[in-house]
Amino acid sequence: MIENIDLSLVDWSRAQFALTAIYHWLFVPLTLGLSFILVIMETKYVRTGSEKWKRTTKFWMKLFGINFAIGVSTGLILEFEFGTNWSNYSWFVGDIFGAPLAVEGIIAFFLESTFVAVMFFGWDKVSKRFHLVSTWLVAIGANLSALWILVANAWMENPVGMIFNPDTARNEMKSFWEVLFNPVAMDKFFHTITSGFVLASLFVTGISAWFILRNREREMAIKSIKVAAIFGAFASVVLIYTGDTSARTLADVQPVKFAAMEALYEGQRDAGLTAFGILTDRDEADDELDEKDIIASIEIPGLLSIMTNGKRDSYVTGIKDLVYGNEEMGIISAAEKIERGKIARQLLLDYREAKKRGDSQEIEELKKRFEDNNFQEQYFRYFGYSYINKPTDIVPNVPLLFYTFHVMVALGFLFLLLQVLAWFFAARGSLEKRKGFLWILILSIPLPYLASVLGWLVTEMGRQPWIIQDLMPVGIAVSSISTSTVQTTFWLFAALFTALLIAEVSIMTRQIKIGPKIEEE
């Protein structure tokens, strides 16, 4: 009766989704941030009437257009994959995904598609103010599109505002507002868009630095750096702040991921924050957990407790607490959750059998029990645990999370420093003399892309083994299709996206080399 999961199918499906999501994401954040930098530049043009600002805006708008056009629709492939590779998951999430994605589609279509045309075709054809409003609407539309996708993703981290219907096997939305204002969604939205703002500002400062070093378009480059650096510095502060609030929310809703990011095996009071560290295998370790020690670390005593709970003597939950339970702290073990998950799955099976038999009294009793709040809170919320083999399986890859998280955080602080220095040197008029710093700005262009991908790795790898936290493990979500089909499409995507990336980079570098000579073309 029991069918085993084909792990090679699961792995290939995951690899394919990761490949397409990462490639898709290479195009998105620049659109999110550059659109607002354009808004600032064009506002300066409208307020001052200076043709120099118009020329500057049009140059960056051209790069925005190339990135926007090549990246647009690449996200659709992810939706194809949901229907083909992840059909159980797609069905199970029901209208939770449908509603936000439908709103996203409408906003994206009406705001972005319509007003992008005005942005590019409307210079000198519509009034200055209407053109500026269009640029604003594109920026707002692009960022609002991201909101709805992130709301859907946040639901996978913290499923709220729904109830599972045992007749249809779908989750049904109980409260749209609970889904929208899911604390994970809000943190994720602001953290993600500000990461896009920082990426775009480093993109602008890096390319502007190139112009200065080439002794071309110096005035435009300095103006651009002043706008981008101040915008990027403010965005970096918000990025760091939202990173902190995101981590605090994680400690509450995804404590295993949070503990893994800090490689915190033993829960403790007065827990220190590791700013830097190297993981090594622990002597006399719990083999099942493959425990690690942090060596050569820079630790700030008590800071993790303060950042997590606001008090230095507060308890920060460790991986072992979550795997084996901690009665004193009221943390139930993974083994207990597995038992509760099995009870929930058995009730689903009994309900189904009763329906097949047509036993109306039993159907009514079981459905009543299923819909009972206590059952939902104490049992069904652990439904996914019924598929977990052993308690240690709930722990994601700790070294991967620890390093990706810490490198991402270090890069976040580096970005703040770069932006502040760029603004400071530009404001003092000494930027042109600092050739070394200009080179650092150029070489920093890929770093926020790296940080952005690392952030998504922390999000997605940290949720493992779940596709929907506590409700559905990844292995249950895949469709019963052949592995070879997924392998074939994996390589097709790799080729398609690589070609798109090459097209983007080559068209963009050519336009950067040409510079802001739009009127002459």
Partner: protein, 79 residues
């Protein structure tokens, strides 16, 4: 009626002029967009990415039954 007709005509002209006056880089980008959309919607969607549940089952109740089967009998264990 005349106002609507004029508005539609103005919008059409706006797009037409925009596309005809498009610089070389814009035309290149549109070529990339068209090739990409062809590959995504014609090649990938039709030949490689069928909606598995829509293709294999006729009604939502059958799809729901199938997913329930998967949820109830699929397992990571060998026991």
């Amino acid at each position: 009626m005349g106002f609507i007709k004029k508005t539609i005509s103005d919008i059409f002209q706006f797009y037409r002029n925009g596309f005809t006056a498009m610089p070389a880089w814009g035309k290149k980008v549109w070529l990339v967009i068209l090739i990409k959309l062809f590959i995504i919607f014609i090649v990938l969607k039709i030949f490689f990415f069928p909606d598995v549940l829509k293709k294999n089952f006729d009604s939502d109740s059958e799809r729901g039954e199938h997913v329930l089967d998967e949820l109830i009998i699929k397992s990571n264990t060998d026991d």
